[in-house]
Symmetry: C2
Subunit: 339 residues, 2 copies
């Protein structure tokens, strides 16, 4: 690469397109730190997700899509907290990036930064194995942030969008997933429509920001589905000291998912697949109708898939009420042989 | 590694030792985001530095020291802004970390977290080429943050501590630096005292937090010396639209530095070496005595090495007033052949 670190930052990252104007940001890129000033009634939400080449995206993926995915999965954490996106930092380690790669990567960031009104306020650039460390900051009115620890027995469990697409997308792209070699599409090659759907699901997950902001008043607890539903609803249950009964007959799947994998694998993908970046939320029964009306205003598909229980376990039931045994683990990055 | 991601986080990072109690932190590790609430008069300072295995630390270095360096270089950015450390996040990518490595790494974090009263509030853990992405958050009273853009013509230029130790430390440890192969110690092996001094300088830089908090009222602009003095004072000059005249005869060097390298290489290390993590600050002449008194209270060695000028260039002069030509670049991560 012929540009220096400073030149790369100036040309591709310290740009007006990424310095989205927000009154809370007093100083963005260009000093040792950025400076924020928040309104007295606002709280700051902070989350970070790191994406590693060949682990969280294929090496040869389109750089614009890599950027989109990297920022979107971080925004999904803000959505899960009911926060409005404010700003982010970018720690970028690059093995050997060309200007064309940087140009496309930066375009991907710009696209999402504009869409979600989130400003790039700082970062660090270094040479090494390609890694993208993004940290996002959002704001929520005092006491309004959605947490994992406030689900109540009897609350209904909803998910946004479709389940399982994250894991099925990996299989569709011919990439390994932690579900193991037995997790396969029914045909060797998905149709071009399905392949295109899954590629978009993988690289352009839709952070449920609008939904969370609209519906937050009626949500008792929330989490984003990044590790697989069982693991993630498990976090809500552990932190809230409750259990969950899930009706798998109500799980929402995309047309492409039902087209491409067996019924068994649909369920595996939903329960253990991860990478869906949908939200799982709990809602008091008496708020159900108001919640559903707000979700409709936010133009977000929601599905009621179960209920919070007292017995502190996550259990799955078929449509006819029979319990389905759970014998897989949620996504565990440092262990092998989950399947 | 036999522990899952969740088990590693719980055992080594979600510990009371790292959850330093601060009233601003409403929620730390354990949800999709952390939650902060700031006093109305406080501003939030945000900075991030990423350290890559074999680029920013040797692969076989002591994990406790890697952690110390990773957090310290980030704290140095907060010092350069005059901010009080508040909290940090940790994006940790590990190739193959043992429990012993994690235990030592976590001990290094705990040591500095306690020393600087900074809490770990979140992070992300993943498998991949070892990389440490830390983001620090500090607070400063409204309008009190130190910036690069407020140096005035006639201000005196001070640096804390000693210059050049960062680059000399690399040579002392037998590691390559961007100063190139011609940058060598005078002897093949430094004395054990010098070797030990440089190892400490490299792995345990002292973030000048206390100094910055004590002296901030008398500092017009500040930056930390991470890229070499010429590059860093250059940032102050560019952002403040001024120049600088440096008197190299006043540059402070450690005893170990003067013992181990030639006079020429001392100067190269100071001007172009980087990794010193000292502060370079500007002070109005009429504040000089008050500034020096506060620095003494903070027990921090300071040296007056020059003056801010009008001509928008950084120039170096010998003790007898002759200009010294500058023919090297500051640290440029993506370019080779600087020397």
């Amino acid at each position: 690469m012929s540009l220096s670190e400073f030149e790369i930052i100036q040309k591709y990252f310290q740009t007006a397109d990424l310095a989205v104007s927000r009154e809370e940001i007093l100083l963005g890129i260009g000093d040792d730190s950025a400076i924020l000033s928040l309104a007295a009634e606002d709280q700051l939400l902070i989350s970070t997700d790191v994406l590693v080449d060949s682990v969280h995206f294929p090496s040869d993926a389109n750089p614009e899509k890599i950027a989109t995915r990297a920022l979107a999965v971080n925004l999904s954490d803000l959505a899960a907290m009911g926060a409005e996106p404010l700003c982010f930092t970018l720690g970028l380690v690059l093995a050997d990036a060309s200007e064309s790669w940087l140009q496309q990567f930066s375009q991907g960031l710009i696209k999402l930064a504009r869409q979600y009104n989130i400003a790039l306020i700082g970062g660090d650039l270094s040479k090494g194995p390609t890694t993208i460390a993004i940290q996002v900051h959002g704001i929520a009115k005092s006491g309004k942030a959605l947490r994992r620890d406030a689900a109540n027995v009897g609350d209904l469990i909803f998910v946004t969008g479709c389940l399982g697409d994250g894991a099925i997308a990996l299989a569709s792209m011919g990439l390994p997933s932690h579900l193991g070699a037995s997790f396969q599409l029914e045909q060797d090659q998905p149709s071009s429509n399905c392949a295109s759907y899954f590629e978009q699901a993988y690289f352009e997950p839709q952070p449920r920001i609008e939904f969370a902001l609209q519906c937050g008043d009626y949500i008792s607890s929330a989490i984003d589905i990044s590790d697989g539903l069982i693991g993630d609803i498990g976090h809500i249950c552990t932190n809230s000291r409750v259990g969950a009964a899930l009706n798998v007959a109500e799980f929402p799947y995309s047309d492409s998912a039902t087209c491409c994998v067996s019924t068994d694998n649909l369920l595996r993908a939903a329960l253990f697949g991860g990478d869906d970046y949908e939200l799982c939320v709990t809602v008091a029964k008496h708020d159900r109708e108001k919640f559903q009306a707000r979700a409709e205003e936010a133009n977000t598909r929601i599905s009621c898939i179960g209920e919070i229980t007292e017995d502190r376990k996550v259990r799955c039931y078929s449509g006819t009420g029979e319990e389905i045994p759970l014998n897989e683990n949620a996504y565990r990055h440092f262990q092998e042989g989950n399947s």
